[in-house]
Symmetry: C2
Subunit: 138 residues, 2 copies
DNA sequence: CTAAACCCTGTAACTGGTACAGAGTCAAGC
DNA sequence: GCTTGACTCTGTACCAGTTACAGGGTTTAG
């Protein structure tokens, strides 16, 4: 029905990435034509779109795998499972944001020590604060 | 003066990572003892500490390379150069934070659609919103 | 019928390291 | 002076998460 190239243009996914997803088991291996070409169906399209959207939301492939397994195994999993996976992800993102904000504060601070003048870089307070044992880092 | 292992414990850097930094040119190749052991000096220690601190602040090795070159080439670079590299990095972090916040908002939104009940995951609104063509994503 | 455009496979590249095997070396204890 | 254990040396392979490319076969359009 769909060749690999068609699936790629349809989903916006790189054509090689599709093969990679098959290798790591994110996408089931499709049927092959007589000559060995991969033949994808609507379900593959749906699944790859899912993966693309989940990736855009920063889910790791492990967690995407987990989400997809919840949809595969019929009946045995609950909405609570899905929600807890999602919320674990939200928590991770929150933490990442907090880390980045702290780094940014520290960078702003050390940047403010430097006047940005045309003086030699060797005596620049930014570099010095990176060379010296820092008091307020991390 | 310092063996590779001493430098590693002194800086908290993994011993293999030191060799890696030498390979990619972040750290200059040290002198060797008669038997071929690497012999580091105070300057290497200083430089590796610099790298560790810059990494902790999220600088990529390219940019760390850039910062270190500013200190190496005497006189030809200015504080303004250092400051602009630092501010470019701050801008990148700002952007990353913004992206993550947007992702988080979207995740909160789709998570709120789901009651987290013990009903089957297959009809879970979170999964559905990942499968369907999303209106408000990205 | 031919040429372009596609697909197949395996494999290497990328970043930022980490790890391991097999060989040599150093320092301490007996 | 010799052994043992801890260290170091080199090259190489591995992780995620792709991307790219070489060298071959296939399909499709003109």
């Amino acid at each position: 029905m769909l060749t690999r190239g068609k699936l790629a243009t349809e989903t916006g996914c790189n054509i090689e990435t599709i093969r990679y997803y098959e290798n790591i088991g994110l996408i089931p291996a499709p049927d092959r034509t007589a000559s060995g070409y991969r033949s994808y169906n609507e379900e593959h399209l749906r699944r790859l779109n899912f993966i693309q959207r989940a990736r855009a939301l920063g889910f790791t492939s492990d967690r995407i795998q987990g989400l997809l397994e919840l949809t595969d195994a019929e009946g045995s999993h609950t909405r609570a499972d899905v929600k807890s996976l999602t919320e674990a992800h939200i928590d991770e993102i929150t933490e990442k944001i907090r880390d980045l904000q702290q780094i940014k504060r520290r960078l702003r601070q050390i940047s403010s020590f430097c006047d940005g003048s045309s003086e030699s870089a060797t005596s620049c307070p930014i570099l010095e604060s990176l060379f010296e044992d820092s008091n307020g880092s991390r």
